[in-house]
Amino acid sequence: MAIIKETEIAKIEVVGSWNVQVATDTVIKENGTEISRSRNRHVLQPFLSSKDSDNNWTHTAIDMTKSLNGGAEATEVQAVANTVWTDAVKASYKTWAEAQGV
């Protein structure tokens, strides 16, 4: 009886120009037959934006080598993000983030 655990990228969705939604499934198989599946999600945006006390904005690019789930983002996730996050999209994001005022 072999029980194995696998992770697989179930969905990569681009929402609202710059949001890359990632759904990762953890699959438990017994002798090759799936007996359990659970889902974990996270959303990537091109920058972490913050404003200092002088109202100066800092936009730090997301580090793809440090996934929110530990380890690097999956190759296919990086590929989608790098395709979607064009310079124009990044500029739009910065503008949007600063407009939030936080």
Binding site: V15, G16, N19, Q21, A23, S38, R39, N40, R41, H42, V43, Q45, L48, S50, D52, S53, T58, T60, D63, K66, L68, N69, G70, W96, Q100, V102
Partner: protein
């Protein structure tokens, strides 16, 4: 099988007449009418002399099939008559008792009654409106009326479509599976060839949405999902995990319900906003989800209460102070003490 024939056209009964010469005993060959004497079985031969029937064996012998020999010679001008009942088989006729095969077509003006099984090597062709009737009272009928085809169970009991080893499938449009009951597996219901509902060991899977109270987009419930997300808090430059963190969500339609629990080890840098990643992007509808309620331990005592806000088109939750005006300033490192703990839950509309 041999028959005693009855049809004159088959020459079943033949008559031979001879006029004897003096002391003639053997009669054969052509008779007075030019008919050659022949018989098949002497048991079916009658011999008469001047109208008196002779007795086989005592009065005559007939063994060759072509000759009759009198025991006692006839007188001149005696009339010797033989009547032969031919024993014959009608070669091109199917036996009523033993059965057989018709090489050609068979047409019947009446009904056909068959005892035993019927095997057709090619097709059973029936015209429009003709009905296949099964059961003592035509309980199950199959027919095509020229416009539509029908399988009708009008008898007692249920109508079973039973596939022992395979699947039971109802197909439409000359090949699309509309309803498919897979042996030992799922039952699939399709729309125009695409499966929309499928049973599974876990229940039922629906592809697409379920219309509730209407068929418009506004009535379609098209998503349900539950899972976890990594409720990490962000510093200025990256999201970080910490001593204890968990995030769970349930998404129904476009509404995401979530719970976050996070415990910081140490402090968050002063001026850094406390914010968490979320499982889904919020709707880009210009509406900020606010009023999310939570609690924080080890927080500045001046903070009245803790809530959260999610901007439109965002996947970030900001912790903020709850004030009389509902939403106060965003909480940052200077508001949160060392080893602070956050628990917050709420819901928001997703994109």
């Amino acid at each position: 099988m041999a028959y005693i024939g009855t049809s004159p056209s088959n020459g079943v009964r033949r008559r031979f007449v001879y006029e004897a010469t003096a002391s003639q005993t053997s009669f054969s060959g052509s008779d007075e009418n030019g008919v050659t004497l022949t018989y098949v079985d002497s048991l079916y031969l009658d011999v008469y002399q001047n109208g008196i029937k002779l007795k086989a064996g005592d009065d005559y012998t007939a063994t060759t099939g072509t000759t009759v020999v009198l025991v006692q010679g006839a007188s001149a001008n005696d009339v010797v008559e033989m009547v032969a009942f031919d024993v014959f088989s009608v070669g091109d006729t199917v036996s009523a008792s033993d059965g057989g095969s018709f090489a050609g077509n068979v047409a019947m003006a009446g009904t056909l009654a068959v005892t035993g099984e019927t095997t057709l090597q090619t097709h059973l062709n029936m015209g429009d409106g003709d009905i296949i009737k099964l059961g003592a009272s035509a309980d199950l009928t199959i027919q095509h009326d020229g416009s539509h085809s029908y399988v009708k169970d009008a008898g007692t009991g249920n109508l079973f479509l039973d596939s022992v080893a395979g699947s039971a499938i109802i197909r439409v449009n000359d090949g699309y599976n509309a309803l498919e009951a897979i042996g030992g597996g799922a039952v699939n219901i399709s729309h125009n060839g695409a499966t929309k509902i499928a049973t599974a060991t876990t229940g039922v899977n629906v592809t697409g949405g379920i219309g509730l109270g209407g068929t418009g987009t506004a009535n379609i419930l098209d998503d349900y999902e539950e899972g976890t997300f990594t409720a990490q808090i962000s510093t200025d430059t990256t999201y970080v995990g910490d001593a204890a963190q968990s995030g769970v969500y349930t998404k129904i339609g476009d509404i995401c319900f979530f719970q976050i629990r996070f415990q910081r080890t140490g402090t968050l840098n002063s001026g850094v906003n406390a914010r968490f990643g979320l499982p889904f992007t919020s709707a880009n509808n210009g509406v900020q989800a606010s009023g999310l309620r939570g609690s924080v331990e080890n927080i500045d005592t001046s903070v009245v209460g803790v809530g959260g806000t999610i901007a439109a088109n965002s996947a970030i939750l900001y912790l903020n102070e709850m004030t009389a005006a509902i939403t106060g300033h965003n909480l940052n490192g200077s508001d949160l003490g060392a080893n602070f703990q956050v628990q917050i839950q709420g819901f928001y509309k997703t994109a």
